[in-house]
Subunit: 193 residues, 2 copies
Amino acid sequence: MNNSQQKILAHVQRNILLSDKEATEFLSILSEVKLRKKQQLIQPDQEVSSEYYVVKGCLKAYYVDINGDSHIIQFAIEDWWISDFEAFFIDKPARLFVEAIEDSVLLALNKSSLETLYKRIPKFERFFRIKTTNAFVSLRKRILSSLQKNSKERYIEFCRDYPTMEKRIPNYQIANYLGIKPETLSRIRKELA
Amino acid sequence: MNNSQQKILAHVQRNILLSDKEATEFLSILSEVKLRKKQQLIQPDQEVSSEYYVVKGCLKAYYVDINGDSHIIQFAIEDWWISDFEAFFIDKPARLFVEAIEDSVLLALNKSSLETLYKRIPKFERFFRIKTTNAFVSLRKRILSSLQKNSKERYIEFCRDYPTMEKRIPNYQIANYLGIKPETLSRIRKELA
């Protein structure tokens, strides 16, 4: 078993227990994907047939509006999942870019393999129910924070919730994700220093 | 079996099949809640131990900011689920109000009963995985629409996605949900008429 496989098994088994046979079957449907920094994994209008577990690295999912401005929707580091989830789950063309911020190693889980996995090893329903619930709650929390908190509070919350990301992601991208201007973030960071 | 029970069973069985025994067990953990129009089901700082299936009626979940302004986060009509999901899932005090827009009949599903249900009838993992995935995708879609579409396009999308809601919910509340001014919505509706 290679390092990527060990990592995802440990990740899954924090929520469900697998027999050796089940673990082997699960690993057999994953395929490794390597990306260089700035390389794009998903582009708008593509079909999105996989979601991706991050073994190593850092990625962002972002939307580019008609004025050409980017809006970062999600970051992902080790042990996170990333994709254009809307496209993946409801079989629509992608609207997002997914791009590596660092050299990254991912494990791709294909949608049809996942559907088969649910039938063969139903406890994966539990695993992905828990993962999706967490993702849903984070998104709700982010929407509420944008209504409830000022820029400084949102930055402090981000640093507290995602301490590792804060160190690895360029400031202007964190500012973009938080919906604040890079200058404002610089000022906030000086105030907090 | 009463009408509320029939409705939720039909709702669940669109995604999973239950034996008579399983159906009876599921129904036994639900409790009916009736609300008058404008009555509040959840208030900020309360503990939220249940999520609610809407048998009949219409509700909204909203956040009130420090200036006293309301921000509607979710509407729910028949066959939808509503709660302060962040509070419900991660055991935090509520930050939202949940309030009836019409006289409503709900079925409450308690969190500890739900955890027991997952153990006893694991196919409910599948049911709630699918429900949560849909909720997650809707939320992502809403965030993208706010970046991608102008007020008129967002209103048209809302009418298309939720035709029944559009007829039942006061215009100023739809405007609030879409993040546009009531006057702007009136103008848009006249243009479209």
